[in-house]
């Protein structure tokens, strides 16, 4: 009996989960293990948010009014734009257009850096307003979620820089770009988490 596995599987999943039966896995399996772990981590934050909101509805109704909504909106637009640039970078590597791919990766990286600057400014602005992790339950959840997300954007931006160097070194082409694609799906996951965080903390009262 043959136990041979396709090269892109770990051999630990049911056959129904294989690429042949369920469809292509963008990037690679390890990045999806990472993404699903990160989603679980953020899910715990979101559940904590809803539990805290249940017990402290008035604090959570007042909380968003103390935040700088303009900076939250700016960061949402920046991250959505970064996702768009990343999708364009993927489109161009498939066309073997490395120059344009690199250009869009630099734009995505610029968005990541710009996000970090705006977020730092927001934390500074909060500090001037006298807000901190111990102000009340809303701000405890706010700082936990947003600082955690801040770290994710930070290290993913470093990873974008890494794939730019790999691209310049000729490691990616129309035929082989799984490393670049793995980073792209991770980057979109970070954007997705902000898509959830933004209305919870800045919009809903």
């Amino acid at each position: 009996m043959s136990h041979e596995q396709p090269s892109n599987t770990l051999g630990i999943f049911p056959r129904a989960w294989s690429e042949e039966q369920a469809g292509r896995i963008p990037g690679n399996i390890p990045i999806w293990v990472g993404i699903l772990s990160e989603l679980t981590e953020f899910a715990i934050f979101f559940v904590a948010y809803f539990v805290a909101k249940y017990y402290y509805p008035d604090v959570f109704a007042q909380g968003p009014q103390g935040l700088n909504t303009s900076l939250g909106v700016a960061n949402t637009i920046i991250l959505l734009s970064s996702s768009y640039f990343m999708a364009k970078a993927m489109m161009h590597i498939r066309l073997n257009n490395r120059g344009k791919c690199q250009g869009y990766l630099w734009l995505a990286l610029s968005c990541g850096c710009f996000y970090l600057i705006v977020k730092t400014w927001e934390f500074y602005w909060n500090n001037l307003q006298g807000l901190s992790t111990s102000t009340n339950e809303f701000y405890t959840v706010y700082y936990y979620m947003t600082f955690n997300h801040f770290l994710h954007v930070g290290w993913a931006s470093c990873a974008v820089l890494w794939v730019i160097f790999r691209l310049r070194a000729g490691h990616y082409s129309a035929e082989e770009h799984s490393g670049l694609e793995a980073l792209a799906v991770y980057w979109h996951m970070i954007d997705l988490m902000w898509i959830l965080i933004f209305p919870l903390l800045y919009v809903l009262r």
Binding site: I25, L192, L204, R205
Partner: protein, 84 residues
């Protein structure tokens, strides 16, 4: 003039929804209607990113299901907060 591709349109739609949701949050108290509207648009934003930016629409159906499920559960929890 160069035509907008679907990616450009999705980018514009995502930004428009963000601005619309912010307007709702700034102008109105969180009524049940506002919460439902925000939850539904949030679900739509998530599905656009999952299907078209992450490109899961024609990729692995299990991963797409898990990602979409995430953007059904949490918007549904926003709707549940109406009863808090």
């Amino acid at each position: 003039m160069k035509k907008f591709s679907s990616l450009e349109w999705f980018w514009v739609i995502l930004i428009a929804i963000t601005l619309f949701n912010t307007f709702l949050g700034e102008q109105f108290a969180s009524t049940a209607f506002v919460s439902i509207l925000v939850a539904v648009t949030l679900m739509y934003k998530g599905i656009i990113v999952i299907d078209h930016f992450m490109e899961l629409k024609h990729a692995n159906k299990n991963l797409r299901f898990l990602m979409r499920l995430y953007f059904i559960i949490f918007p549904a929890m926003i709707i549940a907060t109406i009863f808090f």
